[in-house]
């Protein structure tokens, strides 16, 4: 039983990471009905942004707490700026194009970003050991052992998610976002600058992805140009599982996916080899019985 709770906690850590990335997918989908397949790469570039700052800019005498804060901020900013840039250059010109066009563009952007890091980052095809800025050690919570890093990952993810929720449901900009998601034309008539709202959505997704990039580096160093692919795939699955377009759903989907993977690792013979299969079996089952995902709303047909 103790082992069950141990795996549940490990699943939560992994799930928190998936959820942070999934939020970016789901928000963008909610606003512009685009599966932003470049989002995994935005996460990856964020991690590289943080790494670059630490490796090339920060003096090594800096206390690790401050360094971590700076790395986190720079990673978030890198991802946010990149997301805004990609929206401006790749997606906005296709705003009124058939839906497949931005989708294929997203794949193009994804490949371009991955290859840019591989080719142009110094020695980019080799994994980079991410700076370990958090004290190493474990805590025992009633038989469940978690590292300090694990606790930090869960806490930071929760704080960010709650902040996002407050922003979307309490602020004026958040209200404009929800209005744009419901009906962009009417929102525009009511004086909402929808282009600005769309950029803000991409930026928010980027901020979370950048933070996730640093967290990934902390729990799973080294980082390389390929980490965005798997993380993006898992987060996309989490977003669909939870009901794409739904913010709470993305978080729920992320945690569900993380926990399923952890439990499969433990309780299925040779589980590590099969955990991804189990994650996708759960996705298929949910989609069979709830085609809109766990918390998905019925999807509006848009002109």
């Amino acid at each position: 039983m103790q082992q069950f709770f141990q795996q549940l906690s490990d699943g939560l850590v992994l799930g928190a990471l998936y959820a942070l990335i999934a939020l970016g997918y789901t928000m963008v989908y909610g606003i512009v009905q685009l599966i932003n397949f470049a989002h995994g790469e935005i996460f990856m570039v964020g991690a590289f942004g943080g790494y670059t700052l630490y490796h090339y800019v920060l003096p090594s005498s800096l206390p690790s707490g401050i360094a971590l804060l700076l790395v986190l901020l720079v990673a978030m900013l890198t991802s946010a700026l990149l997301a805004a840039f990609v929206e401006r250059v790749a997606y906005r010109p296709l705003r009124n194009a058939p839906r497949l066009a931005p989708l294929i563009t997203a794949i193009g952007v994804s490949i371009a970003l991955q290859e840019s890091i591989r080719l142009f980052y110094p020695n980019g095809s080799v994994g980079k050991p991410f700076p370990q800025l958090f004290p190493r050690g474990t805590v025992d919570l009633g038989g469940v052992t978690l590292t300090y890093v694990d606790l930090f990952v869960i806490s930071l993810a929760l704080v960010l998610m709650l902040t996002l929720r407050t922003f979307v449901f309490r602020s004026a900009t958040g209200r404009a976002m929800r209005a744009t998601a419901q009906d962009p034309d009417t929102a525009r008539l009511m004086g909402v600058d929808t282009d600005r709202i769309i950029v803000i959505t991409f930026v928010l997704g980027g901020l979370l992805a950048g933070a996730a990039g640093v967290l990934q580096g902390m729990i799973a160093s080294p980082i390389d140009f390929k980490i965005g692919f798997i993380a993006g795939l898992k987060a996309f699955t989490a977003a669909v599982l939870g009901g794409i377009g739904n913010i709470t759903g993305a978080v729920l989907g992320g945690f569900t996916l993380g926990i399923v993977e952890a439990l499969a690792t433990q309780y299925v013979p040779n589980g590590s080899a099969l955990k991804d299969s189990f994650a996708f079996v759960v996705l298929v089952l949910v989609l069979v019985f709830r085609p809109t995902g766990l918390l998905g709303e019925s999807v509006r047909s848009r002109a």
Binding site: Q33, I35, I107, T138, Q216, K226, F229, E261, A273
Partner: protein, 406 residues
Amino acid sequence: MRSLRLVRYTAPLLIGALALSACGSKKESGAGASSDKVVKIGMIAPLTGSLSALGLGMKNSADLAINQANKNGTVKGWKIQFDPQDDQEDPNTGGAAASKLASDNQVAAVIGTLQSSIALQAAPQLNKQSIVLISPANTNPSLTQGQTYLTTKKRPFASYFRVATTDLIQGAFAADYAASTLKAKKVYLVNDKLVYGQGLCQAFGTEFKKKGGTVVGTDFVTKDQKEFGSLVSKVKAAKPDLVFYGGQFPEGAPFAKQLSDGGVKVPFMGGDGLVDKSFVATLGTPTANSYATNVGAAVEDLPSAATYVSDYKAAGYKDAFSAYGPNTYDAAQVLIAALAKVLPGKTTIDDSVRAEIVQAVQATQLDGATGKVSFDEFGDTTNKVITMYKVESGEFKKKETGTFAG
């Protein structure tokens, strides 16, 4: 429902397309403008991607040997051109590189591969054309002794050779060290599901059980996996006193680190796939309790390797020669010696010439950088030395050199 349907139909397509993004190719052309006839030595190795540090060390070492041979005119009347191909750590790409080299009628021999799984794709194609494939790094026994190597040994590829010894020796040597020196009784086996990792784990487990140890669990990691939290918890619950890992360092390094961070402080041990400086860099400080075996003796212990090391430095290559550099240099020497024996007087590289090259390689007796090089009836090296290393103060420190006698 339109948009949701779109998601469902396009997702598999997109995933497939993204997987393709890993592909790409890089060409390099060798020199060779002279009145001499041209013979090519190919190479199949990972020149890009996470294992490229090893692959580039191989490429440079072969390049060094070939340049020296051309300068000295070792193969009379012929100029050797080097034709390295990138396998991108992918068996299909490696197989395609092999068929490309096999269809080139100037290619006399190929050096490679790094990974046993890729050799399994490349060797059959080159063997069909009687082109020698000589590996500095493959250790899976099935490549020379057939799929049924545990019961009956049968050589599958007459033109396949290697200067690295097999995992039957490497795994057993590691098991012996774990049981006798580290006094381990319970081992947890983890591998990466690839040919090399599985074979190494099997060889380790078999010998470890013979020594009276028990295997308390087995599990797997997936290529490119970086997060091992739940696997660490699973291993921890089984309370092993050694974790043995069969696989390469890109997955092995974060796994070792997360085991140590998660409180599994018992020794972590693996094979030659872990021996790279980025394994040590990923572990960070304080270093985990990690061991790895590598094929051959330590370079600093070999007086014969001193010239190679200084020549490599003098040539000014950007990348370090890494774990398989000396072996690759010797593999290239073997090929050059065979070409020097066979080619003078010949006009083209046809099937009979290639068959003669295979025979010449089989009969090799050479003093290489790693010691005496010769091959047994399976194409395996007769040099069966293994060295055990431990990660200490930021580098692999030699612990014990020897071989496994049974």
